[in-house]
């Protein structure tokens, strides 16, 4: 039995908004969908989007979360919010009132972050729902088209998903077609006579948007196949800013909900369970990085040291990488008791490499940054199209070797999309390795 009515939600929503306004926050209006836990599982599977194209992997995600949830290994998230205008957030019907109040306060933090952080400047919150909806409709029509059907659609989607993160890692980098690139080169040559690029080379410079490049240059793709690849690229673009700011975004939202909750003058019967829940959310996860924990603690430190105004500025201008690079210090790292570890072939086990003492803390910090968001994903770029239309890909090796079994499969997927020969160069155990 729930301990709340819609009236309660409206009541608290108003109060929360008041406090948030006083804090100087600036957020999109929020639409809350009150859903049950199964709908929540559904929403989670489709990363919160109310409209998303079909793919079996989302069914898998649903089953996985469902199983974990049933086994009690995971709770469902208290919050789930879409970067749209108005923001769409979900409240789970089964939750108690204090959870809803916390969630609503938390969502304002997220929405404020979406609206202000510059990583999100290029996202299009007004149209995002519509464009996902259009994509979903397009995919559905392909699936229903008797001359295409689900198998062919899946073949392309499976393949495109394998390189869905092989797109530019920072927002604001617009993909340029061959013609646009040539135009730029020509202008450069006019300005700088000493500049003599090889204009025959495709691409002229390394191209990091592998999806778009394939969609533009593959000689075998059908129109709808190109469009599918672009749909995948488009949805990646939506997630990139979120991946770049997971720690900050969660940290900010936790900071905001904590501040708001403390100013609401909650009665004990709401305040005590809230504190318990808050501490659960921001607790450290043994052997892992809990972004809620890290983000919250770091913002707290910054607010304590520099004041809320500066924190507001940080939430606007930084992303996870710069956030950690600029503001982590040894004392904080020690406080978090972080350590780096890796699997040792010789020892056939995992051992600790560095801890946050005087010699080690910078190494741990650097490894931490390497493990943040998109840094966890290897970068592969298009080097050139060679003889016989062979597509040459290069893995940008940063000391970490690829998982070869996975790389092999992903490579095969790229071949499906490209249609002609593909080559991939990487480094494995200090030697050049080619597929």
């Amino acid at each position: 039995m729930s301990d709340w009515t819609e009236k309660d939600l409206l009541h608290w929503d108003q109060k929360i908004a008041q406090v948030a306004e006083n804090l100087g926050l600036d957020w999109h209006p929020i639409d809350y969908e009150i859903i049950d836990y199964q709908e929540m599982l559904g929403a989670m599977a489709y990363v919160g989007l109310p409209t998303h194209y079909r793919h079996w992997s989302y069914g898998k995600e649903y089953e996985r979360t469902h199983t974990l949830y049933n086994l009690g290994q995971t709770g469902l998230p208290y919050e789930m919010i879409i970067n749209s205008n108005p923001s769409i957030a979900y409240l789970m019907r089964e939750n108690a009132l204090h959870t809803h109040i916390l969630t609503m306060a938390h969502c304002i933090g997220h929405s404020d972050f979406f609206k202000n952080n510059r990583m999100f400047a290029d996202t299009n919150p007004n149209n995002i729902i519509g464009s996902f909806k259009a994509a979903a409709k397009y995919v559905r029509e392909l699936i229903e088209d008797p001359s295409i059907g689900i198998d062919k659609v899946e073949k392309i989607l499976d393949a495109a998903h394998s390189i869905k993160y092989q797109v530019p890692r920072f927002p604001g980098i617009k993909y340029k077609t061959r013609e646009e690139k040539l135009q730029i080169e020509k202008e450069l040559i006019d300005e700088l006579p000493s500049y003599t690029p090889n204009l025959e080379k495709v691409p002229l410079h390394p191209e990091y948007n592998v999806l778009k490049f394939i969609s533009e240059h593959s000689k075998h793709l059908k129109e709808w196949e190109r469009n599918l690849i672009l749909i995948v690229e488009e949805s990646s673009k939506y997630f990139i800013p979120q991946a770049l700011t997971k720690i900050m975004n969660e940290g900010w939202a936790c900071t905001i909900h904590y501040r708001i909750m403390n100013e609401l003058n909650l009665p004990d019967n709401l305040y005590l369970p809230f504190i318990k829940l808050h501490n659960q959310v921001i607790r450290p996860h043994l052997g892992q990085i809990n972004p809620y924990h890290l983000g919250y603690k770091l913002f707290k430190k910054l607010i304590d040291e520099r004041g809320f105004e500066e924190a507001m500025m940080i939430r606007e201008t930084q992303n996870d990488i710069t956030f950690l690079r600029c503001y982590l210090d040894q004392e904080f790292m020690q406080d978090m008791n972080y350590f780096s570890y890796s699997f040792k072939k010789k020892a056939k086990g995992t051992t600790i490499d560095d801890i946050t003492d005087d010699e080690g803390w910078e190494a741990v910090r650097d490894e931490l940054i390497k493990n943040v968001g998109l840094n966890r994903i290897p970068t592969v770029f298009v080097d050139e199209i060679g003889k016989n239309n062979t597509l040459s890909l290069v893995h940008e090796h940063d000391g970490r070797d690829l998982d070869l079994a996975y790389a092999r499969k992903a490579f095969d997927y790229v071949k499906i999309l490209w249609g002609d020969e593909v080559r991939l160069a990487t480094i494995v155990e200090n030697e050049i390795w080619e597929f």
């Binding site: 809350y32 859903i35 079909r54 290897p378 996975y406």
Partner: protein, 414 residues
């Protein structure tokens, strides 16, 4: 002010993707089934045992970093005291805490599904579209059960079958009528007795459930030449067969016969567990089968199936006899299957040009391939092969399922 919407979705939006995912799992199970069916651990298990099948092909492959020294992870140690070089448990993120937003988490998330299925479910996957061929409705049907069912009511009947309810209903109806036309007044407390016409009796109807009856003969060679591996393959084959029959048909008699130089009817347990010894005279078991058929299972009322499994290394002098007996058996059987176990077979039995092993040597001790030795049983059976007599060759566990399908492919295979 925010808007609160009570979400009312009738459709489960993930349903179609889940269905698709499930289909993929099933397909993956079917694909890995070849590896699974011959697993030592499932042979000889009953249907309730759960088997874990690793399902492949459901991973979403991407470029990810490998699990090696250069790829370090970072984690929090909480309140624990730690030092360099300390060994820790496998703590690669378990994905459970990834809040499901998939925000660039590159965890391979080894979705190596271990799907747990029971043998029964496995059978369902395996045998979905297979069936015993030519199951005929035999002249004398096997009466599995004569159940008696109540069916309707009659005005006549014996006392014990009186339906009190119906009788009472009729009396009420009659009384209401009487009140309506005024012949009975409920106010004056007059008795309103039952009338003969009120009485109704249950009607009973015997129901005979007819069932086409089938008997399956399992014949297995347990001679000394049946090595551990061969015996294992044969056992696997029969085990699969047994599961198949159990799964598909409720009423199937199974007769187990094992033979070396002589044959014996054995129990199911002994059949699957017995050791090997002695020489090989295949005709012994065929003879025994014919005896049993004559005594117990008349072909007019039974669908008879026979499956033989052995290494084919029969005594040459016995081959003629075998062919004759096989012919006899074939005549009374719906289907006779001859399955030869030979580890030298590598799946090329149809390609007769390849009578030489890849290394240039002739296939050793492989009756079917010794072209110079034409009196091997395998090739001698050729003339009697048709859709009522099928043979299959099994070289390793991979072939079992193939052999199985060639025997029971049913409509799909014809």
């Amino acid at each position: 002010m925010s808007i609160f919407r009570k979400h009312k979705s009738i459709v489960d939006r993930a349903a179609s993707d889940r269905m698709r995912h499930k289909k993929k799992i099933e397909k993956a199970i079917k694909e890995s089934i070849r590896d699974v069916i011959a697993e030592e651990s499932i042979i000889g298990q009953n249907g309730k045992k759960k088997i874990r099948i690793p399902v492949r092909g459901l991973k979403e492959y991407r470029f990810v970093y490998g699990n090696n020294e250069n790829n370090k992870n970072v984690g929090s140690a909480g309140d624990h005291k730690i030092k360099r070089g300390q060994k820790i448990g496998p703590k690669r993120s378990d994905g459970a805490r990834d809040q499901g937003t998939g925000k660039g988490s590159n965890e391979k998330g080894d979705h190596y599904y271990d799907v747990e299925v029971t043998l029964e479910e496995l059978a369902e996957y395996l045998f979905g579209d297979l069936e015993l061929p030519d199951l005929e409705k035999k002249q004398f049907r096997f009466i599995s059960q004569e159940s008696i069912k109540r069916k309707g009511y009659r005005f006549k009947g014996i006392r014990p079958r009186l339906s009190k309810k119906e009788t009472l209903k009729r009396r009420i109806r009659r009384r209401k009528m009487a009140e309506k036309i005024g012949s009975h007044d409920p106010a004056d407390n007059e008795r309103f007795p039952f009338h003969q016409n009120d009485l109704k009796y249950h009607h009973l109807k015997p129901k005979i459930k007819e069932n086409s009856s089938a008997v399956i003969f399992f014949l297995m060679d347990v001679s000394g030449s049946m090595s551990q591996e061969r015996k294992y393959l044969a056992r696997s084959f029969f085990f699969l067969l047994y599961q198949f029959l159990n799964h598909k048909y409720d009423k199937v008699e199974v007769v187990f016969i094992s033979h070396s130089t002589d044959a014996a009817r054995v129990t199911e347990d002994d059949f699957f567990k017995v050791g090997t010894h002695g020489g090989t005279i295949i005709s012994s078991c065929l003879d025994l089968e014919l005896n049993i058929i004559e005594k117990e299972f008349h072909p007019n009322s039974w669908n008879i199936y026979t499956f033989y499994c052995g290494d084919g290394e029969n005594w040459t002098s016995d081959n003629e006899m075998c062919i004759e007996l096989f012919k006899k058996i074939k005549k009374v059987n719906q289907l006779t299957g001859y399955c030869e176990i030979n580890e030298h077979y590598s799946g090329m039995v149809d390609d007769t040009t390849e009578a030489i092993a890849p290394d240039g040597s002739p296939w050793p001790s492989f009756s079917a391939w010794k072209n110079e030795e034409m009196d091997n049983l395998w090739s001698k059976l050729d003339p009697i092969c048709d859709n009522k007599f099928k043979k299959a060759m099994v070289g390793d566990t991979n072939h079992i399922w193939k052999a199985f399908k060639s025997l029971f492919g049913g409509k799909n295979n014809e």
